[in-house]
């Protein structure tokens, strides 16, 4: 009996060792221009990108599946990294973990299916897309585009003037600490927006909620729209803006002392338009049945 157990344990250990051997540990390095474009694509696993002060790209890759293949092509202007999974796109469940160091001024373009993407310290333009993976990044002055189907997204600003573009079907997308512009849309996902200073803010949803907290610039333009989601818009005082809000069947609430009025005497619809302070900024919010709340605290 003991011999059998020992043999079984040995078999398990051999299998584990074989598995460990099957994993591929790879590393690549290339010298590139400071503002080179780095394209990365992966299916499952992770893509972790950090910036450094060298004009070099360093890649460490762990491919858990021995059938996966790593492509790495580099020129002075562009580096292309791709995990090729030739036979089994899904259901494999074996991760490919890519850890990258890139020049801080480089542009990064990352695309995954279920792999998470994390980017830190990259000052150049970013385009990050994942189907169901989670995307996290830091934004500075260069544009950032974040797109998911069901994956969540987080953009942490550092007070820069980045132009953010976010799109998701059902993901929860959070952006904070930005002083630039914001353009976001979701279907059932949610948009949580915290802008240090907003020059332009566009946010749309079908059924998802939009929660925005901003400091309006004097000439800011804000447009928000939802079908059945809830829109909550909070501004740091003092507020100098013209407001124009309309809803077909949702409630419009304001803490500025103004009440919404019926649009038609006998039909549905309510609207609220007023100027707070000296005006300047313009805020337009529309909904079908979603409630709208604006406040300065």
């Amino acid at each position: 009996m003991n011999i059998r157990i020992s043999m079984a344990i040995a078999a398990v250990l051999v299998a584990a060792a074989t598995q460990a051997i099957a994993a591929q540990n790879l590393s690549k390095r290339a010298t590139v221009a400071a503002d080179a474009t780095i394209d990365v694509s992966n299916v499952e696993g992770r893509v972790d990108v950090t910036a450094w002060d060298r004009n070099e790209v360093e890649l460490t890759a762990v491919l858990e599946d021995d059938k996966d293949r790593l492509e790495f092509e580099a020129t002075d202007r562009q580096v292309r990294i791709k995990v090729v999974r030739p036979n089994d796109r899904y259901g494999n469940r074996k991760d490919a973990i890519l850890t990258l160091k890139i020049p801080k001024d480089a542009r990064i373009s990352a695309e995954t299916v279920s792999a998470d993407i994390t980017v830190a310290g990259v000052l150049g333009e970013q385009r990050l897309e994942s189907v169901s993976g989670e995307v996290r990044t830091q934004a500075y002055d260069a544009p950032v585009k974040l797109s998911t189907v069901s994956g969540d997204g987080t953009i942490s600003g550092t007070g820069g003037n980045a132009a953010l573009t976010v799109e998701s079907v059902s993901g929860l997308i959070t952006a904070s600490g930005i002083r630039g512009s914001y353009d976001g849309e979701v279907v059932s996902g949610s948009l949580t927006i915290n802008l240090a200073a907003a020059e332009r803010l566009n946010a749309r949803s079908i059924s998802g909620d939009i929660d925005a907290h901003v400091e309006l610039m004097p000439t800011a333009r804000v447009e928000m729209e939802t079908v059945s989601g809830e829109i909550k818009f909070t501004m740091n005082p003092p507020v100098n803006a013209e407001f124009d809000m309309e809803s077909f069947s949702g409630d419009i609430e304001s803490c500025f002392g103004k009440k919404a009025r019926d649009k038609n005497r006998y039909g549905p619809g309510s609207e609220l338009s007023f100027t707070e302070g000296s005006g300047g900024a313009r805020v337009s919010i529309n909904s079908l049945s979603g409630d709208i709340t604006i406040c300065d605290r």
Binding site: V113, N264, P268
Partner: protein, 177 residues
């Protein structure tokens, strides 16, 4: 021919005189009510047997099965049913044709997505359909509303965005080499 004198009354009308001599009530030869009552009771029992609990349960299963079948059909090929914007939509044929072209690619790519992602996409297309229905119902009340027409256009754009996102997502990854 017998002539009946003008004016009615047993004294003047011999027929009435005979009729007035008939008995006031005639008892039936046997009591028919017990048989009638038994028949009524039997019919009532038959009626209650028509809808029993097992039958109700079976009907419930049938409804659930049909519903599941429809859902499965949509899940299996949701691209078969693009969002319908109703008769009050201002969307033109050109816009809808452009959508149909994108829909072909969307259908191809949807099958390549992981099941949970596919489910999320299908669920959100259903959300868009519900939104289109709600806007359509509102437009029926106020067809000229700028708000409603604007929301409908945005909803249409969101539908296209879903198709586009699915078509382009993982583009570099799912391409076989």
């Amino acid at each position: 021919m017998t002539t009946i004198p003008f004016g009615r009354g047993p004294q003047k009308d011999p027929l009435l005189a005979q009729a007035s001599n008939l008995p006031q009530e005639i008892a039936p030869p046997r009591d028919l009510w017990p048989a009638i009552a038994a028949r009524l009771s039997e019919q009532s029992r038959a009626a209650s047997r028509r809808f029993t609990w097992p039958m109700a349960l079976a009907a419930g299963f049938l409804v659930a099965a049909v519903s599941a079948l429809l859902t499965w059909g949509l899940m299996r090929d949701p691209g078969m049913v693009p969002v319908n914007y109703g008769p009050n939509s201002a969307l033109g044929a050109v816009q809808l044709e452009a959508r149909d072209e994108l829909l072909v690619q969307f259908r191809q790519r949807l099958d390549e997505l992981a099941p949970e992602t596919r489910e999320a996409v299908v669920k959100n297309l259903a959300i868009i359909q519900r939104a289109a229905d709600e806007i359509g119902a509102a437009l029926a009340q106020d067809p000229a509303s700028g708000l409603l027409n604007g929301l409908l256009l945005s909803t249409y754009q969101q539908e296209l965005q879903i198709y586009s996102t699915v078509v382009t997502s993982g583009d570099a990854l799912t391409r076989r080499t």
